[in-house]
Structure formats: structure tokens, C-alpha cells
């Protein structure tokens, strides 16, 4: 995936906190995805203005991590969301 692409949640996909399961979830047609802490951080930044590169550098900075380590994980997660029909880029 091109780092200059701007990923966003797909039309009709919602993220919310589920108080029954004490976790953030992504909801879509026939889809319930429970998000872990990292997934919550990434989806927080899917605002339709940030590029994939921006998202990776923001997270690298926030967690004082090496961007070379962060970017592949972020890319893999977003690609998975796109494959599942939950995001677009």
C-alpha cells in the first residue's frame, strides 16, 4: 500500500465503545471486530485527512518507537481493514 494514500473507514462503518465487552469495536454489515489497544490508536487516526505515512509517524512519535518498525504493522492492519470491506484508501 502506497504510504501517500489516505485511508478512512468505509461508508456505513462505525466505531464505538462496547460497555458489555469493555472494548472498542468496529461495526459494519455482518461484521463485529473487537479492537485491541493498538487498533484503537490506529483507528483514532483514520480521519480522512492523514496519509498512511502521517499515521505511522504520529504513532512512532507518540510511543517513542522507530518508524521503520511501526509502519509495516500499521500498513498490515489497514490493508486487513480494506480487505474486510471496513476501510478504503
Amino acid at each position: 500500500m502506497d504510504p501517500s494514500k489516505i485511508p478512512a473507514l468505509r461508508r456505513g462503518i462505525r466505531r464505538q465503545y462496547d460497555s458489555a465487552r469493555h472494548a472498542h469495536v468496529l461495526l459494519g454489515p455482518e461484521r463485529v471486530i473487537v479492537l485491541d489497544d493498538i487498533a484503537v490508536e490506529i483507528t483514532n487516526l483514520l480521519d480522512g485527512t492523514r496519509t498512511l505515512a502521517d499515521i505511522s509517524s504520529t504513532l512512532a512519535e507518540k510511543f517513542a518507537a522507530d518508524i521503520a518498525q511501526v509502519q509495516p504493522d500499521v500498513t498490515a492492519f489497514i490493508e486487513e481493514l480494506i480487505e474486510k470491506g471496513l476501510a478504503t484508501a
Binding site: R11, R21, V25, P29
Partner: protein
């Protein structure tokens, strides 16, 4: 004792009324009339209880749920309670004003049924003239209003050749998801089986088309594919397991583990509004009847797949094997498997073209 997880989804069958008369309708043969339907207050209460129980998805279904005047109110209430609101509709009674009201109420996803790709085919199967064109118009509005769109295509012998055209139609409509479902033979479909059963070659061709298109369209169009299980080797994981994920509430307020569960004798269905939904889910007789694996007979009881497919569909086991505890006869391990396969192949050759249409 194993812990019972909270349900994820509620199927709210608001009504059995429907302008379409599809001969494979999943509703029971004995349809409920308008007078038996529950009121707005009842459904608002159900939504509150479902949300408290941990349900995340609500499917407004029927019949045709859009025939209910209170649908926008129910959608709004469900959304306010944190439920993801889905509308399962024929779309023929919708219009621009109704759809935008629903979008404003918080509706997230609309699933529109299509009976074919050609208007002549589709309108004949639904027995509703002009239906197909109306569905196309409404599908375009759904995405314009920012809601997720599923094209639901039920396929069978009399429209399977239009499968490639239905995939193109979903793309042309900019759908997010395409559900291609071979008819499941319960209720009306069981009655019309000889007019619906595809032959094996046609089913294998359809399988190959879906596999190829699903791969080619990854990330653009999500495919959900329900195979014609008479030709399958392993049975489907019906409902994601009995009493594990889903509750189904009938128009008159009875709570079922699946929409066809009423065909199984000896089950007791509690009423929402009378018994708390949580009590029905965790303790209800019908929900516990086939929950887990303790109820199983051989060959299910010692099968490696028993916690994967849970022995298949209980309603189908009853319909075909005469015993709801039997292995679903579509499974290759069932002693009836060969007989079922032969019956499917014989029926697929039948001359039968006429339908018994669904009528109240």
C-alpha cells in the same frame, strides 16, 4: 459448565406482510396477519433489553419491515442505544423521503434483495411487476445517503445463469457487499424445491465464478456466499451455532434461536416483554436445547468438527432425517447423505417451473 457468551445480533421480524411473493421465502408457511403484530412500545422495550444484554447489531427484517410506520422511530432508538441498525428490505415500498428519514434516524446499512439481474426474471420470481427497477433506484439512493449497501441475490435453478450479471449489477450500483445465497430449503423453499434446485454442473460453475470474482474484487466488493448445502460435503455452521450469537423475534413477540426453529417439535418459545430477554437467552428451554455439543448423537458426538459446524442445521436435520438431533443429512458423514444428494440431482432435472408463491 461452560460460560454462555452474550448474543451479538438480534433479528427483529417486525411483520410478515410483504408485497413480494418469493417462492423461497424463509418465513414459515403459516404467516402471521397484521393483527398479531406487536406495537411500537413492545419493540422499543426489546431494543432496550437487547442493548443491555450486549447485542451490537439489530436487523430490522420481516416480511417487509418498511411497511411498519414506526420503523424510523425504532431505528432511531436502536442507534441511540448503540446498536448498529441494518434494514433487510425488498425496497419496493421505499421512496426518497422514507430513505432519508431512515438515514437521519441513524440507519447504517441497507440490504436490498434482488431476484435476478433481468427485470423479467426478477419480477416473475418476486411476482411483483416493476419491482426490479424500483430496487435499482432505491439502491442508488442508499449509497448517496451515505449508508452501506448490500445487494442480496438469492440464486436457484431459475436465475443462476444471471449470476455474472448480478455481480456486475452490484458493481454498477457501487455496493459495499454482495451476498450470494443459494436457496436454503426451509419453509416456502422446501415446498418449491423441485422448481428451485440447481443441477450439480450449474452449482459448480457458480462456485467457480464466485471464487474468481471474490479474489479479483478484494477490497472493493465484499462477498458473502451461502452454498446450496445439499451439494456440500460439510454442513453449514447454522446461525454460527445454536444459541451462540443470534436471537430472532417473530412479529408476535416470540423469541427463537433461529427463524425456522418453530418447525421443531418440543421446543418452548418464551415471549419477549413477558419474560426478560436475558433470562430467555441464558435459561430459555429452546435456546439450551441444542446449545453446545451435549445433545449430539453419533456421528456428531465423536466428530472433530463438532465445535466448528455444530452438526449443521437442526431444522434441516428434522426436515430430512425426521430427527432434530440427527447429523444434518447434507454432511458426508450422515447415513442419509447419498440419498439426499440423489434426491437433489433428481429434482434438479425436474420439468417443474411453476412456483407456489408466498401468500398470507
Amino acid at each position: 459448565m461452560t460460560t454462555i457468551a452474550a448474543p451479538l445480533a438480534l433479528m427483529a421480524e417486525l411483520t410478515h406482510r410483504c408485497p413480494l411473493q418469493c417462492p423461497y421465502c424463509s418465513n414459515p408457511l403459516e404467516l402471521l396477519k397484521a393483527g398479531a403484530e406487536r406495537d411500537t412500545k413492545f419493540w422499543l422495550g426489546v431494543i432496550d433489553e437487547a442493548a443491555a444484554l450486549g447485542v451490537l447489531q439489530i436487523h430490522f427484517s420481516g416480511g417487509e419491515p418498511a411497511l411498519r410506520q414506526d420503523l424510523p422511530q425504532l431505528v432511531e432508538h436502536a442507534t441511540a442505544r448503540g446498536l448498529y441498525a441494518n434494514l433487510i428490505t425488498s425496497a419496493v415500498t421505499l421512496d426518497e423521503s422514507k430513505l432519508s428519514t431512515l438515514a437521519q434516524a441513524g440507519l447504517a446499512h441497507v440490504q436490498i434483495s434482488f431476484q435476478g439481474a433481468r427485470p423479467q426474471t426478477a419480477d416473475r420470481i418476486g411476482n411483483y411487476r416493476g419491482g426490479h427497477e424500483k430496487k435499482l433506484q432505491m439502491a442508488r439512493l442508499v449509497t448517496q445517503l451515505g449508508m452501506s449497501l448490500t445487494v442480496n441475490a438469492v440464486v436457484h435453478r431459475q436465475n443462476l445463469e444471471e449470476l455474472p450479471a448480478m455481480i456486475d449489477m452490484a458493481l454498477e450500483l457501487d455496493a459495499d457487499r454482495l451476498e450470494i445465497a443459494h436457496v436454503q430449503y426451509h419453509g416456502w423453499a422446501l415446498k418449491n424445491r423441485a422448481a428451485l434446485m440447481p443441477d450439480r454442473a450449474a452449482f459448480e460453475a457458480a462456485d467457480a465464478i464466485v471464487a474468481q470474482k471474490r479474489q479479483a474484487l478484494r477490497g472493493k466488493l465484499t462477498f458473502d456466499y451461502v452454498v446450496p448445502d445439499y451439494y456440500a460435503r460439510a454442513p453449514k455452521t447454522c446461525m454460527g451455532g445454536w444459541g451462540q450469537k443470534t436471537l430472532n423475534i417473530t412479529p408476535d413477540g416470540r423469541v427463537l434461536p433461529c427463524h425456522a426453529a418453530e418447525t421443531i417439535p418440543g421446543l418452548t418459545f418464551d415471549r419477549a416483554g413477558t419474560t426478560p430477554l436475558a433470562k430467555i437467552w441464558f435459561e430459555g428451554q429452546a435456546f439450551n436445547a441444542f446449545r453446545g455439543t451435549a445433545w449430539m448423537q453419533e456421528p456428531c458426538a465423536s466428530c472433530d468438527m463438532k465445535t466448528i459446524d455444530f452438526g449443521g442445521c437442526r431444522c434441516q436435520a428434522l426436515a430430512l432425517a425426521g430427527d432434530a438431533r440427527a447429523t444434518d443429512p447434507v454432511c458426508h458423514l450422515s447415513p442419509l447423505h447419498q440419498q439426499i444428494l440423489e434426491m437433489a440431482e433428481t429434482e434438479s432435472m425436474a420439468d417443474e417451473r411453476d412456483f407456489v408463491y408466498r401468500r398470507i
